[in-house]
């Protein structure tokens, strides 16, 4: 095998090359900007961790059982906030989902609906919570409203995607049968989408449990209230119990939710 032929070179179009170079430059620029711009105060971080590590970590793993009752009450409140918020959102999102689905309304309305939902989603729960705390005072209901509004944006988008993926032939067949719009909605559309709507709503509950456990940081109720006090008082034993409670509750709810969702779909 003395002589080989090398394969011909690939011919990549100019446009593709320019695009690749452009993307590479953009990524490099992003990283340059990031690493030149940010000042991670390593020295201070290292100094603090060397002081704190031996103090904080053992305390975290040695929870203060004396506050069990308080933590339980607050974690229940967290669940209430998440539940009320998710339920409100899962209902509010239905009409919005229909509005934003291309195959259910006029395309222009659908586009506007999508924009509204997207705008809605872009407010982090915590920012919404700040607004509601300012409006109705530092209480759990402010948290409920924050969760409800943010989740409505998320669920509305998912619902509209579910609606856009349904089998329209069924709808067509019912139209041919002479069914009116409302009948088609109840017999042709809803049976197709309800399992997925439910599944998404339950999944949203999983996310909202996590979200509602930090709302207390801005005064909107739940276990977050205790988190912020424990950290201000540097009461790491109490923080240990709070973390443990969050881990347990979230794990249980995740597992239950996964089981239920499996059953539904």
């Amino acid at each position: 095998m003395a002589e080989y032929n090398l394969p011909p070179k690939t011919t990549v179009s100019w446009q593709k090359r320019i695009k690749a170079v452009f993307i590479a430059l953009a990524v490099v620029a992003l990283y340059l900007w990031t690493f030149l711009g940010i000042d991670i105060e390593w020295g201070r971080a290292i100094e603090r961790i060397s002081e704190n590590f031996g103090v904080v970590i053992p305390k975290l793993f040695n929870p203060d059982w004396a506050v069990t009752r308080e933590v339980t009450a607050k974690i229940m409140e967290t669940i209430f906030i998440a539940f009320a918020g998710t339920l409100m959102a899962s209902i509010l999102a239905v009409p919005l989902g229909f509005l934003a689905a291309k195959n259910m309304t006029h395309p222009v309305i659908a586009l506007i609906g999508k924009w509204l939902l997207s705008a809605n989603r872009s407010f982090p729960e915590l920012i919404l919570a700040i607004l509601f705390v300012a409006a109705i005072g530092p209480n759990a209901f402010a948290g409920v409203l924050a969760i409800a509004i943010h989740s409505t944006g998320m669920l509305g988008k998912l619902y509209s995607e579910v609606l856009e993926s349904i089998d329209m032939q069924v709808v067509e067949a019912m139209e041919a049968n002479g069914a009116n719009k409302i009948q088609i909605l109840f017999h042709g559309v809803l049976p197709q989408v309800i399992p997925e709507f439910l599944s998404y709503a339950i999944y949203r509950f999983e996310i909202d449990i996590r979200a509602s456990s930090v709302l207390g940081i801005v005064g909107a109720g739940g276990i977050g209230t205790m988190i912020i006090f424990a950290s201000m008082n540097r009461n790491w034993n109490e923080m240990g119990l709070i973390l443990l409670a969050i881990i347990i509750v979230v794990t249980i709810i995740d597992t239950l939710s996964a089981k239920i969702r499996q059953k539904i779909v």
Partner: protein
């Protein structure tokens, strides 16, 4: 859930759904409703003045927040870039660390069941802790600054990313990998030649998705002292400077929307 809506023939026509299902659904519905009402009662009972009072309050608050004070916007860019930079660093580090973790928590790659299960369990526990709670703990450990914020974002996004990617890995076509093993490739070669090309597009897409999540999360990290724009927002709120706070919120809103838009466009192009 398909059903035949046939004409009722006689009085003995069967109901569309079995009776047992009907009662079951009714019971679940009632339980949910009851729990909801109780939740509403509980969360509202600390509210002074009740619901109606709150509604009129809202109007006052709207007046408090508006018009936003646009003069603070020029002070916002510094902390805002810090926020984005934190998200970039955290996403990058998480993307790198994810690779070994995702491989270890993919059933088809990690054949040792105990290793796979322990990595999985660890990741599951990690994912239960919200980002902001991690930030509170890290601020306690490392002091106020961007470092605990970045660390919180890394740990949080690592949990999500490793799960998504290990699931992608579990869904790949294992046949080419067998072929590579048959031709004498070692484990690393088999992974790079058989696995990487199959998961790379999804990997990139998930990393961008996590970047979006990190951007949104990093915006609020400052509220607990972990750097970024949230710090300024927190200060304005403490001094009840609502018009300033509103201006900052609006800026955050537009930046988040823009970044998400770009990222989602790239993701669409990838898959």
């Amino acid at each position: 859930m398909s059903k035949q809506n046939s004409q009722p023939q006689a009085s003995k026509a069967p109901s569309i759904y079995p009776a047992k299902l009907k009662t079951q659904v009714a019971m679940i519905f009632l339980a949910i409703l009851a729990f909801y009402l109780f939740s509403m009662f509980w969360t509202q009972n600390q509210m002074t003045g009740g619901f109606n009072n709150a509604l009129s309050n809202m109007k006052q608050v709207a007046e408090k927040f508006f018009p936003p004070n646009t003069s603070v916007v020029s002070n916002v860019w510094g902390p805002l870039s810090q926020t984005i930079q934190m998200a970039v660093i955290a996403t990058t580090v998480a993307a790198v660390l994810t690779v070994p973790l995702a491989l270890l928590s993919a059933r088809n790659i990690t054949t040792s069941k105990s290793l796979y299960l322990s990595v999985r369990t660890f990741m599951n526990v990690l994912r239960t802790i919200p980002d902001l709670v991690l930030a509170v703990v890290f601020v306690g450990l490392f002091g106020v600054g961007v470092f605990p914020g970045i660390l919180a974002l890394i740990v949080f996004s690592l949990g999500i990313l490793a799960k998504l990617i290990s699931e992608t890995i579990e869904a790949v076509d294992m046949n080419p990998l067998e072929a590579m093993r048959a031709s004498g490739g070692n484990t690393l070669q088999v992974i790079f030649y058989g696995l990487v090309p199959q998961v790379l597009p999804q990997f990139t897409s998930f990393v961008l998705y996590v970047f979006e999540i990190n951007i949104r999360a990093s915006v609020v990290l400052g509220l607990v002292g972990a750097g970024g724009i949230g710090l300024i927002l927190d200060r304005e709120l403490q001094f009840y400077n609502y018009p300033n706070a509103m201006a900052i919120i609006i800026v955050i809103f537009f930046v988040v929307i823009t970044i998400e838009y770009i990222s989602s466009k790239i993701r669409e192009a990838l898959v």
